[in-house]
């Protein structure tokens, strides 16, 4: 009997919560994933996605990233002609792609040319909204082309990573994109040009284990998750809890795998200084 009453109360609370949520317009408020406070959306947006209370760097869209990093109206997109195909006829992949195309999300990375304080650069910004920013053929092709263009035009390349790794739905073909991008990065490197890898939350798997770890200079955002295996997978494998702060940017810097940890507000200026020292 009491269980039934509990059910009724649960149901009541649930519907009330739903009603309340429905009365607040979407996107007016957002919750900081770190301090859990509700924050006025506009306040966060005007602060480049940084929580005004705890300073946590919340994930922002590709458009917002362009505003943070590049000069106004300097962005010119490249390699947009490459579109994903479901070559393995993997179950559910095509439906997934179609849904994303409907929402006008084109691929796990946008690539192009832009200026940072007047200095022309080539950029790639990964997009976790597209199948966790996973690396498939198109992503690999765009990055390889970016490096090749950088080599030909003697331009620096900056890639902002955030990704779940290789894209399972493209099987070994996506695995091979790791070699493809790393090989292109090597040729680019041999040409004496600068590659800055910007790693943000979360970056794991085949992306960390290829171009993201190959920057001449590696910059990470504070407290980002960066690793090869995801923390849950490791915990399941070794059957013990991971220490606090494991696989964060700070952890990686301590172990010697990240050059600079840079707050979002200071990124553009840091990039400008690095580019200038390299005489671009």
């Amino acid at each position: 009997m009491s269980a039934k009453i509990q059910d009724i109360i649960q149901h009541f609370l649930k519907t009330r919560k739903q009603k309340f949520q429905a009365s607040v317009p979407d996107n007016l408020f957002t919750q900081c994933p770190s301090c859990k406070k509700m924050i006025y959306r506009k306040k966060i947006d005007s602060n480049n996605g940084i929580c005004p209370d705890c300073g946590h760097h919340i994930r922002i869209s590709n458009d917002q990233w362009q505003n943070v990093l590049f000069d106004d109206q300097s962005v010119q997109f490249l390699f947009e002609e490459y579109k994903t195909v479901d070559v393995l006829e993997f179950p559910g992949y095509k439906e997934k792609l179609d849904k994303l195309y409907e929402k006008n999300i084109n691929e796990g990375i946008t690539t192009g040319k832009a200026r940072i304080s007047g200095i022309p650069i080539l950029f790639g910004i990964m997009n976790t909204d597209f199948i966790l920013g996973s690396m498939g053929s198109v992503l690999g092709e765009r990055i390889a082309r970016l490096f090749e263009k950088g080599r030909n035009q003697r331009l620096p390349v900056i890639i902002l990573s955030r990704s779940g790794g290789a894209r399972m739905q493209e099987g070994a073909v996506s695995l091979m994109q790791m070699t493809k991008t790393a090989a292109a990065a090597k040729r680019f490197s041999n040409s004496g040009n600068l590659f800055i890898s910007l790693i943000t939350n979360p970056t794991t798997g085949g992306v960390t284990a290829s171009f993201a770890m190959l920057g001449d200079i590696i910059i990470a955002e504070p407290n980002a998750l960066i690793g090869f295996a995801g923390p849950r997978v490791i915990e399941q494998t070794i059957k013990q809890k991971l220490p606090e702060g494991f696989q964060t940017s700070e952890f990686l810097q301590e172990k010697g795998f990240v050059d600079i940890i840079c707050e979002r507000h200071d990124l553009k200026e840091t990039l400008r200084r690095i580019l200038k020292i390299h005489q671009y």
Binding site: E80, E81, Y82, K83, T84, V85, V87, L88, F90, P91, G92, S137, V138, G140, E141, A166, R167, M168, Q169, E170, G171, A172, V173, S174, L175, M176, M178, T179, K180, A182, A183, A185, K186, R187, S189, N190, G205, G206, T208, A209, S210, F211, A212, M213, L214, I226, G227, F228, A229, V233, I234, T237, I238, L242, P243, F246, Q247, K255, G256, F257
Partner: protein
């Protein structure tokens, strides 16, 4: 097979354009040539039959059989006068990687393999064939040493994947794999990889940057284990069999996808009597080493670069062909990507599809 002749036709047209208008289209031509399937049309039915000899899931299980020759056994059979070498010179020596020098017939080579046991103790010693970062750094050190002494490098790979644990992350497993891909892609000596059993994701990839990838007939190479894929994508690890099929991980699939370059047939009783198969493999590797060693270094490196560079499948928007081709077919520097006149629509359509391989 209709597909093959179409590519051939496109290559011819590209060569014509290249010649007439003096534009360098080698990159495009190379990438198309790479996509020319190497399966002889007359042997296509035979190929299909062989492919269907085992289901993908059966092959996964064969690849994992304990009695199957382990990668270090290939070194034992193929490399004479083998001297094992140890350590990454950075403070560690990984037991999951075997490396050293010896002869393949009469050619001095560096041979590197993962190590797997045939029983529990051996498996524990080799960490079940899962290398730590130190193993990959050891492999890279030996490959660089081979470069110095102008020795070809042979990799024999069978691993469930790179080790997943605290120490591996602390010592930078991502960086170690990335560094191997980066440096090995530019190695100044020819390299060959034989996938002997399980080719587990990035852990196998870091030892598979080569001029040619051989796969044993029942070996597999996959971005994720079928079990892992089933539990993540199908939310049910029991559907591994279906995942194995979907992932296209067998040697035959990988050959068709342009990833594997050779399939090494496994003779009867391969597990109990590997010698005849090893002899075949020795002969093939010897011929390849011979061929690639006489190649101009830059050409050899370009061949390797193009091998990986051309792997990938995508569509290119018909109206937005790659700049260079557009400029060529338009005959001027128009980069708007909208004009497609100057050549028959069919040709462009074909080329768009072929470059993206649909």
């Amino acid at each position: 097979m209709d597909y093959t002749s179409k590519i051939k036709k496109t290559i011819k047209s590209l060569e014509q354009i290249s010649k007439n208008q003096g534009v360098d289209l080698n990159e495009e031509i190379n990438s198309l040539e790479k996509k020319l399937t190497k399966i002889d049309p007359e042997k296509y039915t035979e190929w299909q039959e062989k492919k269907k000899g085992h289901t993908p899931w059966e092959r996964v299980k064969i690849a994992r059989t304990l009695e199957r020759p382990k990668p270090q056994d290939y070194i034992e059979h193929l490399i004479q006068d083998f001297i094992p070498l140890h350590g990454d010179r950075l403070g560690h020596d990984d037991n999951a990687i075997v490396g050293g020098i010896g002869y393949l017939k009469d050619i001095p080579v560096t041979a590197i393999s993962t190590r797997r046991g045939k029983e529990l103790k051996g498996n524990m010693d080799a960490n079940f064939g899962m290398p730590h970062p130190d193993g990959y750094r050891k492999a890279l050190r030996l490959a660089k040493q081979a470069e110095k002494f102008n020795r070809p490098v042979l990799f024999f790979v069978d691993t469930p994947g790179a080790y997943c644990g605290i120490g591996a992350e602390e010592r930078g497993i991502s960086e170690a794999i990335a560094r191997n891909l980066f440096e090995l892609s530019d190695l100044n000596v020819p390299a060959f990889t034989v996938i002997t059993g399980e080719g587990g994701s990035g852990g196998a990839l870091a030892l598979s940057v080569s001029n040619k990838i051989y796969m044993m007939e029942n070996a597999i190479l996959s971005v994720i284990s079928p079990e892992g894929c089933a539990s993540i994508l199908f939310k049910d690890s029991a559907r591994a069999e279906q995942a194995a099929e979907s992932l296209r991980l067998t040697a035959y699939d990988l050959f068709e996808l342009g990833i594997a370059d050779e399939i090494q047939k496994e003779r009867e009783d391969f597990n109990s009597n590997p010698q005849p198969t090893m002899k075949d493999l020795e002969e093939n590797l010897y011929n390849d080493i011979f061929h690639f060693s006489f190649m101009d270094k830059e050409k050899m490196k370009t061949q390797r670069y193009n091998k990986y560079r051309s792997i990938g499948f995508f569509e290119t928007d018909k109206n937005q062909l790659p700049e260079k081709i557009l400029n060529t077919v338009n005959g001027n520097g128009d980069q708007s990507g909208k004009k497609t006149n100057g050549h028959s629509g069919n040709f462009l359509k074909d080329m768009a599809r072929l470059l993206g391989l649909k």
